[in-house]
Symmetry: C2
Subunit: 220 residues, 2 copies
DNA sequence: AATATTATTGAAATTAACCTAAATTATTGA
DNA sequence: TCAATAATTTAGGTTAATTTCAATAATATT
């Protein structure tokens, strides 16, 4: 199996690639992992040796299929543990990331498939992110950003774009969570904020918040 | 916090001390952990620096109170995870040791107290071993070895002295587990075996098995 | 195209956890 | 009691994952 360090590099590469869709530069990885660029070069060469990434000097890396498989496994474990921590042990959704980060490095296939079954094979984690199945497949929901709605439209919150504790705590405070129904009353151009209605109450949300809330439109 | 390696050394020292009750020699630890004696000396000196053991050159080590506290925490985590794996996820009792060995190194106090609560604060793990509470206290049951019973006496199996997979699988095969009632019919001096009755069936158990089965006598 | 900026690399050093081989100390049994 | 044997420690290395720092390559700016 791969070491914790290797796995964390692969995850970082995956995450950065998700945003940019281009070759992932060593510097970007160094920034993300708070490591020196020199360490990253070392590790990236090692990962390339093991055929987990394709590496071109000065250009950056891309995950190979093998590398993607490793990352999908990590994400599956991470999100299943988050689901367990929140829905069985009663942790808050703002509080489980670090623990899942440790638990995901336990590799037993049997453990994960039994945990999956015990949890009822959930499709989404507590932040609305999809949980890959045993084969690495996961469903993407058609979803929009709250900031992309048109005034008057209504949606159900299905995910958040940022899992930072401070953001999630803020949502908790507003009594907004997964499943909450949100109606966009209007966009306020003047200060680029969003007037919404949640459970009968009006709130004024910043653009930063609105662009980190993912909603699903009602089927009609 | 302490590293995995340090914790494993402390656990080994604890286990060996449990059996012998004397200073724990370098070689005994090396044997237990399958390390070289020289590595053990290194680590033991480090643990001594950190006041987790008292170390006398050429004589061996004893755990300090601090060291004992660390070990009790490890045992608590290990046994709670075993309980979870067996009673929630459906693992067999012969199959959980290695996984618990990994899970026990996750240090979150919140995780363990929430897990404990979720499990209903169990007092014994799936092998009948006591689970220390948050303060490190645990109850010892008055228990006997099956091999110490007198012919005709009956007891309930409450624990096993060996958690090896092969031993536990053998017990499974005989349909003997925690809670099983066992009656000693007679000791067979000739070949040092034990004739017992379990659920209406007679079995002839070796001395090795009988001395690794712990029973509690019926209260009358 | 020349220069400035940013990214990448190589070399040398560090730390934790190991190892082997050699030296030292303890034990024991003739 | 003292020499042989066993156990332990020391000394000196190895490996994985880091770091820092200086040199070099690629890219961007004027």
């Amino acid at each position: 199996m791969y070491s914790k360090a290797e796995e964390n590099y692969l995850k970082a590469i995956f995450k950065i690639y998700e945003k940019t869709g281009k070759h992932v530069h060593t510097n970007a990885i160094a920034l993300h992992l708070d490591n020196s660029a020199a360490s990253v070069t070392d590790m990236v060469q090692k990962l390339s040796e093991k055929n987990l990434v394709n590496y071109t000097k000065y250009k950056g890396v891309l995950l190979t299929n093998e590398g993607k498989k490793v990352v999908t496994g990590l994400i599956r474990r991470h999100r299943l543990w988050e689901y367990f921590l929140v829905n069985k042990l009663g942790f808050g959704w703002d509080n489980v990331h670090e623990l899942a980060e440790e638990l995901e490095h336990i590799h037993s296939e049997e453990l994960i498939s039994k945990l999956d079954e015990y949890l009822g094979m959930p499709k989404y984690d507590p932040h609305g992110d999809p949980i890959p199945n045993g084969e690495g497949k996961y469903s993407m929901r058609t979803q929009l950003l709250l900031s992309d709605l048109v005034a008057g439209q209504m949606g159900t919150l299905v995910g958040v774009g940022d899992n930072s504790s401070s953001f999630l705590k803020h949502l908790d405070h507003l009594k907004i969570g997964i499943g909450t129904q949100i109606k966009l009353i209007s966009k306020v151009d003047f200060d680029d904020t969003f007037l919404v209605e949640v459970q009968g109450k009006e709130h004024n949300l910043s653009a930063k918040i609105a662009s980190n809330v993912r909603v699903k439109m009602f089927d009609r």
